[in-house]
């Protein structure tokens, strides 16, 4: 479903009305494991969609990236190498990048995969703050059902590509059965 919204998958049926600027946070790719890139470069790269024709990043984009990095508490270590960070910090950097790409909607694909529970909670809380303070819609795919239910406003359950449930988290029943 995410891939359809993001235009990554062309094989869908039906119409999608789509916003131009979406911040997307994909699942981890193995290329990034030893990619030499500083946090600053990664976050700045999020602004590329604003002025794709320019050769350099302009001032406005740089300011934007700076304020986003300050907000997420990664500005101090902006010169560090992305690959040397811990999983939680990397996720923070990628969230910062997606914030640079959008003011409205962030889409996350399993953002807490492979993170330990306390770091995962930090990420969820960070996302909740973004939602409440900056009015950003957050759309997230997760297998971490328990925790997703605590933080989500609306839940859609998909089983084998079919929608099984749409509604509020408190009404959600596990696989159609009572919990």
């Amino acid at each position: 479903m995410l891939k359809c919204i993001l235009d990554l998958n062309k094989g869908y049926t039906g119409e999608i009305e789509k916003e131009k600027h979406i911040g997307y946070l994909p699942q981890k790719s193995e290329i990034q494991a030893n990619f030499p890139a500083s946090i600053e470069e990664v976050v700045l790269s999020g602004t590329i969609a604003n002025h794709p024709q320019n050769i350099f990043y302009n001032k406005e984009d740089k300011e934007n990236a700076k304020s986003v990095m300050q907000k997420l508490g990664i500005y101090e270590m902006r010169k560090k190498c992305f690959a040397d960070l811990s999983g939680g910090q990397q996720q923070r950097v990628l969230i910062a990048r997606s914030l640079c790409a959008t003011k409205k909607l962030i889409i996350l694909d399993e953002p807490t995969n492979g993170l330990d529970p306390s770091i995962a909670r930090q990420i969820y809380e960070l996302l909740r703050d973004l939602k409440e303070k900056d009015n950003i819609t957050i759309l997230m795919v997760s297998h971490d059902i328990e925790r997703a239910l605590t933080y989500a406003d609306n839940v859609i359950e998909l089983i084998n590509g079919e929608i099984k449930f749409v509604g509020k988290p408190q009404d959600f029943q596990f696989g159609g059965e009572k919990k």
Binding site: L6, D7, L8, K20, I22, Y24, L25, P26, S29, I31, Q32, N34, F35, P36, A37, S38, E40, E41, V42, S45, G46, I48, A49, P52, N54, I55, F56, Y57, K79, K80, C81, A83, D84, R97, S98, A101, I107
Partner: protein, 245 residues
């Protein structure tokens, strides 16, 4: 030694060789960063074998300037090879091995059927920077300048596409287009560089600078700059070494 050096540099054909050599090394190193990061270190080797196949065939057919046929031919194979990602049934490393050995086999078969082109074959295999004709030199200089300019213009986009292709696509960039640009630029540099380095050694000017810089530097910009510098230093060291022999 400096005297010998200045004397050597006063010859026009050596000046040409040095000019082409440094430009091609520079471009190869720049592209090398993207290729190594995309896990395509072997593509240089693979494409140069394809180039060898095409060059021998066109030489046998009596084409006067085989470079003009080799460049588009290799470009097509470069695009095919970069299209193969990890989701396809044949993995990219096997695809490169497959194409390069087949092309080499075809090249060798063609040369052994026809006789009397052994020096040419040797030139293709091991390269000879001094044997380049004036036309080749002009073509090489133009191509490498174009490659360097395009790399500079697309620098930001190449970074995004290399670092995270899915994010690039979600931001509305035509990721496929930039992958194709990398492929075509690589093909250009490999065909040009083959005249200089030869089929067997062309990979060295593509991957060594990038790999060395990646060990030392940790940001993308510094890696790109240092690969460019390393490629220049090694090119001149190579010249000195040859001179001393």
């Amino acid at each position: 030694m400096i005297e010998i050096m200045t004397e050597m540099l006063s010859h026009a054909f050596i000046q040409r060789a040095v000019l082409v050599g440094s430009l091609v090394s520079l471009c190869a190193a720049l592209l090398g960063v993207s290729l190594v990061l995309k896990r395509y270190s072997m593509i240089g080797d693979g494409l140069s074998h394809v180039g060898f196949g095409i060059l021998t065939i066109s030489t046998v057919l009596g084409v006067t300037s085989p470079l003009y046929i080799a460049i588009p031919g290799v470009a097509i194979f470069a695009i095919i090879l970069l299209k193969i990602d990890n989701n396809s049934r044949v993995k990219s490393d096997s695809a490169i091995a497959l194409i390069s050995s087949s092309a080499l086999a075809i090249g060798v078969a063609v040369t052994s059927v026809t006789t009397g082109m052994n020096t040419d074959v040797c030139n293709f295999m091991f390269g000879s920077i001094l044997a380049m004709s004036k036309g080749d030199v002009i073509l090489s200089v133009i191509v490498s300048i174009v490659v360097a300019i395009l790399f500079f213009v697309y620098y930001r986009k190449l970074f995004v596409v290399t670092f995270d292709e899915n994010f690039a696509k979600a931001s509305g960039l035509k990721a496929k287009r930039y992958t194709n640009i990398i492929a075509v630029l690589t093909a250009l540099i490999i065909v040009i560089g083959m005249r200089m380095m030869g089929v067997m050694l062309i990979s060295s000017i593509i991957i060594f600078p990038a790999l060395t810089s990646m060990r030392v530097f940790k940001t993308y910009k510094s890696v790109v700059i240092s690969s460019a510098i390393i490629s220049m230093i090694t090119f001149w060291l190579r010249n000195l070494f040859i001179l001393c022999l």
